[in-house]
Amino acid sequence: MKMVVVMMIMMVMAMVSEANMIEQTCKETPDFNLCVSLLDSDPRGSSADTSGLALILVDKIKGLATKTLKEINTLYKKRPELKQALDECSRRYNTILKADVPEAIEAISKGVPKFGEDGVIDAGVEAAVCEGDFKGKSPLTSLTKSMQKVSNVARAIVRMLL
């Protein structure tokens, strides 16, 4: 009985301390709320170190890029007049998926975080370029803005590894 109580207390403490870890980390990023919501919602968040948290953010970048590419594909049919800009966005978002994300994962896992920083920064750049291509009439604004925000948060966490 006593052991069960002790066990429960330790579980609570672990949950609280990990919650603190996420909170402490997110305080040092430009978007505390976004950071917390991304990390809290991920099951890996509860036991990750800073490296692990950074990798979760990179995974969010990957997911967001995939989602955006799907949206770009549907837009080709719905808005054929935007083909040129959609082509450029396609190129940019494919770079995020095929270059930035793998580079960041490898670099963070292997302990050379500066290349991870390059990758996550570039994800924000590519999103900004894609958005700019529509010259103010973008159908992707909320997705590209999200990517920029996630990129900024990810970068802040990767910087903590340097």
Partner: protein, 654 residues
Amino acid sequence: MASSESLLPVSSQQDPLSDSRRDSIPESRRRRPIKVHLAIYSGFLLIALYVTLVITHGGSAPKNDVNDDTTVESRARLAGVSEKSNDHIWNLSNDLKGEAFAWNNTVLSWQRTAFHFQPEKNWMNDPNGPLFYKGWYHFFYQYNPNGAVWGDIFWGHAVSKDLIHWLYLPFAMVPDQWYDANGVWTGSATFLDDGSIVMLYTGSTDKFVQVQNLAYPEDPKDPLLLKWTKFSGNPVLVPPPGIGAKDFRDPTTAWKTSDGKWRITIGSKINRTGISLIYDTTDFKTYEKHETLLHQVPNTGMWECVDFYPVSKTKDKGLDTSVNGPDVKHIIKASMDDTRIDHYAIGTYYDSNATWVPDNPSIDVGISTGLRYDYGKFYASKTFYDQHKGRRILWGWIGESDSEAADVQKGWSSVQGIPRIVALDTKTGKNLVQWPVKEIESLRLRSKKFHMKVEPGTVVPVDVGPAAQLDIEAEFKIKKEDLEVVFADDSVEDDKEFSCETSGGATVRGALGPFGFSVLADQSLSEQTQVYFYVTKGKDSKLKTFFCTDTSRSTMANDVVKPVYGSFVPVLKGEKLTMRILVDHSIIEGFGQGGRTCITSRVYPTKAIYGATRLFLFNNANDAAITASFKVWQMNSAFIHPFSADDLGVPSST
């Protein structure tokens, strides 16, 4: 969780005890303990959930003020890092200003350099193990065979007779052992007393631990050193206690101690203090770690690619890494992981206890206001002693400043700087000087000499024909009478804290500057990169000179980093202002005052390319005319290509 596991044996031990009692307990009472357990369990779970909720989300709503302060503060802190020391990388991702440029193959293919080392395709980073052996200069480099971003790192290899005309060879080392399966990373070569070569390099193991490994040429009789053997007892060094498994990389060339042992240093960090660990060895297989460090500097972060070498205080030549003595100072250089800047400091090495003390601790290794090899894009640099010509040569990795999408589209990323001789500035004694190796002059084709006087606020076209591959040597003089007027005029203020990086660039006019060249410019100057001097008026008629490069108008494209780079440059009494500029498509290397201040930059013009590239001379000073005497050479390509049998017939220069 360990705690619950350790409890299980205890609780199971309890069961036999309670079991023996169960038989005698009536049925209703038997069930109650389980219910009670369940209730307590759920109760705690609820408490745990509640507490977690409060901690994580309580931070957002009621604490809005604190949050805003924190986020503003951290944004400022990030921006502060960006502004002060990271101008050459992106600030926070913002909407891009200006026009997007749709990169196409024509514009991208112009960016490839003609006479800087770069592989045929894909990503390259740090220079590794440079050396001279049996008539050939060898160059190894970090290379990704699979893409135009960092990853999957192998050792590339190339050779040259003259440090300029390179020939690609097969990979020297690949990640084929457990101790380098995740990357064959940076390393350095040492020549043993019998002339044989040992190579120490960092491997990223199959478990992502950074270790040091030994390798040596498989066939010392092969001048091309094509094949390398990895020591069967690798790794020879693993991260020591107190050092992170991922904070242990880039071993240096070894030097001889006074008791005849070999000594190396490896950079690392302890919390935020950058450090340099010291190891002694007699056979490169087993090592003694010193308890003390070669050096450490707080708040500088991880030290990558540490380099340690002697320089002569009086003579204009290079020194073997093992040289020591009263005529010698020692340089410690490290690449700062935090800021992507290569810093060095001059100091004294004490062999007896393997320590080093800086001449000027206020500009110690890694201090942001300290000395740098190069004030532009230049990292992971490494020197070697060239025993063939008695000089110390510096290699530096020059990365891209464009988007990764452009790198992927063009299929490559990064070049190496032109190898530079490096030596102590015997005139000032307080800094190194660097200069492109003399062999680069073999690329000079036709030249034109100019002598021009340029009035304030004037831009003059310089007609040299094609202007993407140039070597420019120039001398500037400020008109004496104008100088005297400026000093006599009290309304012209002392420029107190001028800095190239925060000055706003070459269009911001001062009394005595900026003046210099606009390279990679188009006819209408809609795109240009200015390499220039900015002279400030100090107290008592003292001039202070800065050497800068402004890339902010280098391209119309807006997905490229376009900083203003530069620094103070010492100008001694009686010296004229001199600069040298190497222009090679998307790379510009500027050398101020004989190489006292060097600036490398990457630029990506969209209009000032092919036949449209021009050269201009400008004087944006308000109050002084300048005279420029300069010579401009067309530069040939180095025709870097894969090694073939024909290349063996190349005569070696002595």
